[in-house]
């Protein structure tokens, strides 16, 4: 019974996140940038822009220039997130790859840095007057949601332990449209419920920053306006 409910929820959530993100990304990709607005100094070649992007996504370069505390907490949180997700890959694929095995060890501890970063961000949200001013309830709830996921996950990993093999079987089953048995461990159910929530709100929330960053004209444009003419389709109409 539990298995069926969670299976349905997982299918719905997966559909929402996949279709939702795809639709948003399609809108971003199709909306033209009428003018050249890279924040300069900007790279003058495509490769240069690629590296600028890599630095932004992997190192949070601009954030580092901006505020060392936010950078520290934010960067820790995100890098831990990638490690955790890599570690989670073992639930979704049959055979493990060497890189998934490789992150198992560090990944274990990533849950601490994940929670540490989130805690720091949450404290700042209340402690720093300026950030408190700009925060909406959703900003706080988002952090609490991630903390909830991280905390329930860590609980399973380090305290209560759950039947990982069954979880894996259940998740693999879902990918073959087969609803199997899900262990009725409450911590696991909380973990999964929160993850489902995260997936559902992803395309309608600020979490769209993840794909959004790649579409930001001030970061992804090449500084070559004197060499190559840039013209949006709707602007070309004006010339007729």
């Amino acid at each position: 019974m539990l298995g069926v409910i969670y299976a349905i929820l997982f299918y719905i959530a997966t559909a929402i996140i996949v279709v939702g993100v795809a639709m948003r990304v399609r809108t971003y990709a199709r909306t033209p940038a009428p003018l050249k607005i890279p924040t300069t100094p900007a790279p003058t070649t495509g490769w240069g822009v690629f590296w600028r992007m890599v630095r932004e996504v992997l190192l949070f370069q601009s954030l580092y220039k901006s505020n060392k505390w936010i950078w520290l907490f934010g960067w820790m949180m995100h890098m831990s997130l990638w490690l955790i997700l890599a570690r989670h890959m073992r639930y979704f694929i049959f055979e493990s790859y060497w890189w998934i095995d490789a992150v198992q060890f560090v990944g274990t501890y990533a849950s601490f840095t994940f929670l540490f970063g989130l805690g720091g961000l949450l404290i700042r949200r209340f402690a720093v007057e300026r950030i408190r001013y700009i925060s909406s309830p959703s900003d706080v709830l988002m952090l609490l949601l991630l903390i909830g996921i991280g905390a329930s996950g860590s609980l399973m990993r380090f305290v209560t332990h759950t039947d990982i093999v069954s979880v894996k079987a259940f998740m693999l089953g879902l990918s073959r449209f087969h609803v199997g048995h899900l262990p009725s461990d409450p911590v696991l159910l909380v973990h999964l419920a929160l993850v489902i929530t995260l997936m559902i709100i992803f395309p309608i929330s600020k979490l769209m920053h993840a794909p959004g960053v790649f579409f930001s004209p001030s970061r992804n444009q090449i500084d070559n306006s004197r060499d190559k003419r840039h013209l949006a389709p709707w602007a070309a109409e004006l010339e007729k």
């Binding site: 940038a33 050249k36 924040t39 309608i204």
Partner: protein, 510 residues
């Protein structure tokens, strides 16, 4: 000693973050445009009856036409990194002058009408209805942003509040609420050719007077040609260069450089304005119309090159947008950058060795340099990224012995706006302008204490006017702001000039 007014107290440090003072700048607004100003920019004369529908329609349209608008509204995570980066926030403490809070004034409405979360859970995501009060609030705080892009440098996604400000101003214009200063000026450019409304006759007379002065000073026929067909170079310069101080000394500097370089050049009376206020109000159509005047002037005069004078926002529109708005410029000589900045021209000539200087002519000055915001963060000079920082400094160092940079966190890409950019250079915003300039002024006061700096050079017509107005409030003479080409003009040695000292210099040089 300050020319009047009380001296402003210096902040402890240029980037000191104030405590929040909610409402400190509430209701501060520039004068609204009259129907006749609105008409000239193609906007309704007063608030239209169905303003709400039209405003939302415009917002939807911008979301479809401008990727930046859409992506920036969606991606902000409220991390707060930008909150202490705006000079208007630093100077006023009003939380709505924090870049993200400024964006939120519009984002809250966008969310309410265009996002799932805002439609069904407005309280959760800070969404709100569009009301007349909101419109007034927009008018107020979107005219407390100088579109300087400092916030964009520090945002992890490069979110540029200037883009939101421009969009908001365009929405306001569309429903009939425009700003008098910007819209009146755009009207003048379209009618007369420049922001000042200086007609061709008056312009000719001004230039002739200046030529006489130049001849008296140098003994040479250094020319300031107007509407001369067949000249090689068309100079497009801010009209303030024709009459305001210290701008005018910069213009004389360009003339001397062109003279010494031996090129033929001309100013156009039809396109006698570099500044393009269409940028400030976020109107592509107006910006395009003004830019097309430059294209037409270049075609009519049959020039081979276009060079821009010292002006910040103008250089942004020229460097980044001119080809988009008025290109392709295939009728110009492709060997040269299109368009070229006067500093690129001068620096090229210096490197070629065409220009000779007597640096001691600037020895009475201990100088620092203010990177103008739109040159620094929205354009480039030369071939390398960052040329917009190096080339002006290279030229300055070639003509001036005593040069000192300000605090590294307040120059180059992190430069602070002068406080008067983006359409705010109007007397009805004087209080805001003074407060907004205080971070820059504090950084200046620091180098004055440390290195005895007396003067600050700038390459933007707005910066120059703004500083000459506000510097007296901070204990400087109003002529402490100088044009870079004014320094060039002071130091340049013109071949064959009757200026006693420089002639001597020249012979001893050879």
């Amino acid at each position: 000693m300050p020319d009047g007014a009380e001296e402003f107290r210096k902040m402890q440090h240029a980037l000191d973050v104030p405590c929040l003072k909610p409402g400190a700048m509430e209701g501060v607004q520039p004068f609204k445009a009259k129907p006749e100003h609105q008409e000239k920019v193609g906007m309704p004369g007063e608030l239209i009856p169905d303003w709400k529908e039209k405003a939302l329609e415009k917002m939807a349209e911008l979301g479809e036409k401008n990727r930046a608008f859409k992506v920036y509204l969606d991606t902000c995570v409220k991390c707060g990194a930008c909150t202490d980066k705006c000079h208007y926030f630093l100077g006023t403490g009003d939380p709505k002058n924090m870049p993200v809070a400024r964006q939120d004034l519009l984002r809250s409405v966008y969310r309410r009408y265009f996002t799932f979360a805002g439609k069904y859970f407005p309280w959760l995501v800070g969404a709100r209805d569009l009301t007349e009060d909101v419109l007034e609030e927009w008018y107020s705080y979107y005219h407390q942003c100088s579109e300087c892009r400092r916030c964009s440098v520090f945002c992890p996604y490069g979110i540029d509040t200037a883009e939101i400000t421009m969009a908001a101003r365009e929405i306001l214009d569309t429903v009939g609420v425009g700003q008098k200063y910007s819209n009146e000026i755009i009207g003048k450019v379209k009618e007369v050719g420049n922001n000042l409304g200086l007609n061709p006759k008056a312009l000719r007379a001004t230039l002739e007077d200046l030529e006489e002065d130049l001849e008296e000073d140098t003994g040479l026929a250094v020319r300031l040609p107007l509407d001369e067909k067949g000249a090689d170079i068309l100079l497009i310069t801010p009209s303030a260069d024709f009459f305001a101080e210290p701008h005018i000394d910069g213009l004389l500097g360009y003339a001397k450089v062109f003279h010494e370089a031996g090129v033929s050049w001309t100013i156009s009376s039809y396109a006698s304005e570099a500044a393009n206020f269409g940028l400030f109000i976020g109107s592509y159509e107006n910006m395009r119309e003004i830019s097309l005047r430059i294209r037409k002037a270049a075609e009519d005069l049959g020039v081979k090159r276009i060079v821009f004078g010292e002006c910040g926002h103008a250089w942004r529109v020229a460097y980044s947008f001119l080809d988009t708005l008025a290109g392709p410029f295939d009728f110009l000589d492709q060997k040269y950058p299109i368009p070229q900045h006067i500093l690129e021209f001068t620096w090229d000539e210096i490197q070629k060795g065409t220009l000779k200087f007597d640096k001691s002519k600037n020895d009475d000055i201990r100088l620092t340099y203010h990177d103008s915001c739109n040159v620094a963060r929205a354009s480039r000079m030369g071939d390398m990224p960052g040329g917009q920082f190096e080339i002006p400094r290279n030229v300055i160092k070639a003509v001036c012995n005593n040069y000192f940079d300000m605090d590294p966190d307040t120059i180059k890409e992190s430069t602070l706006c002068c406080g008067g950019g983006g359409g705010l250079l109007t007397d009805d915003l004087m209080d805001l302008r003074i407060k907004g300039s205080s971070p820059r002024m504090t950084a200046l006061q620091d180098v004055t204490e440390e290195h005895g700096v007396t003067h600050m050079a700038a390459i933007c017509a707005i910066c120059k006017t703004q500083f000459s107005k506000v510097m007296p409030k901070f204990g400087y003479e109003m002529d402490s702001v100088v044009s870079v080409h004014q320094l060039v003009s002071n130091a340049i040695i013109l071949t064959g000039s009757n200026d006693g000292e420089s002639a001597e210099e020249e012979t001893s040089d050879e």
